[in-house]
Amino acid sequence: MTEELELNAKPTYSESKKVHVFDTEFMPHVDSMYNFAYRLTFDEDDSKDLVQDTYMKAFRFINSFQEGTNAKAWLYRILKNSFINDYRKKSKQPAKVDYQEVEQYYNSEDTPKDTTVDLRMETTKDMIGDEISNALNSLAIDFRTVIILCDLEGFTYEEMAKILDIPIGTVRSRLHRARNILREKLGSYAYSMGYN
């Protein structure tokens, strides 16, 4: 929620300063924002709308952004909240997979003891982008998001905690579970390719 984006010391920018901050701090992230949006929506038009909405909100609430702080994380947070609060309500996406349910299911045995049997290094090198992409896209949104933020965008746990508004411990455990599921899915691909 954008109201939550407020920082302790709120700057008040002049109109020209607002545009300057917008251009120098926000605009350089359009490409990665679009990619993030696409990995959430799987739709080009929806991604464009989501990124545009995010930037409009960012400009409207620009006084809540402290110049020189982490603009990318701030924008990601707005985009992720817009996706959850606005976009998904009207989207054509299938019903959300219940996170608790998924979490409980995969949490039953947290440590994958036989990973090396299912997925070896030599099996992954032949995988093509589509298989990796399908495996990632089939994850429940909460799991997919942490993988994108951590592995593709390189955010730290602390930044992810701020973007997702969850404690660092939850980031860590969600990431761990997400990777277990992803590994399992990639293992199935490897199996279908004739490995094992």
Binding site: D31, V51, T116, L119, H176
Partner: protein
């Protein structure tokens, strides 16, 4: 607490936890030191380390960046300053 099937160290979960921290650049120096000396003697953790590392590299390498519509940045900019 669980036992490692290879080296019989008493805390396999701890190794996996540190492994993830390490690959995410979140481990501190002592965790790093512990883990690298551990995988010298534990083939199970060594294999886990390689698989996890491979998965992360795979994601980065094989997932294509989506081409961004050329007009998107211009449209956004025009909405701010018409």
């Amino acid at each position: 607490m669980s036992e490692c099937p290879d080296c019989n160290c008493s805390d396999f979960d701890k190794c996996l936890r540190i492994l993830n921290l390490l690959l995410d650049d979140e481990a501190d120096e002592s965790q790093e030191e512990f883990f690298f000396s551990h995988i010298d003697k534990c083939i199970v953790c060594f294999s886990h380390y390689n698989v996890e590392k491979q998965i992360r590299e795979l994601l980065k390498r094989k997932l294509q960046k989506k081409e961004v519509p050329r007009e998107l940045a211009i449209d956004i900019r025009n909405k701010i300053v018409p």
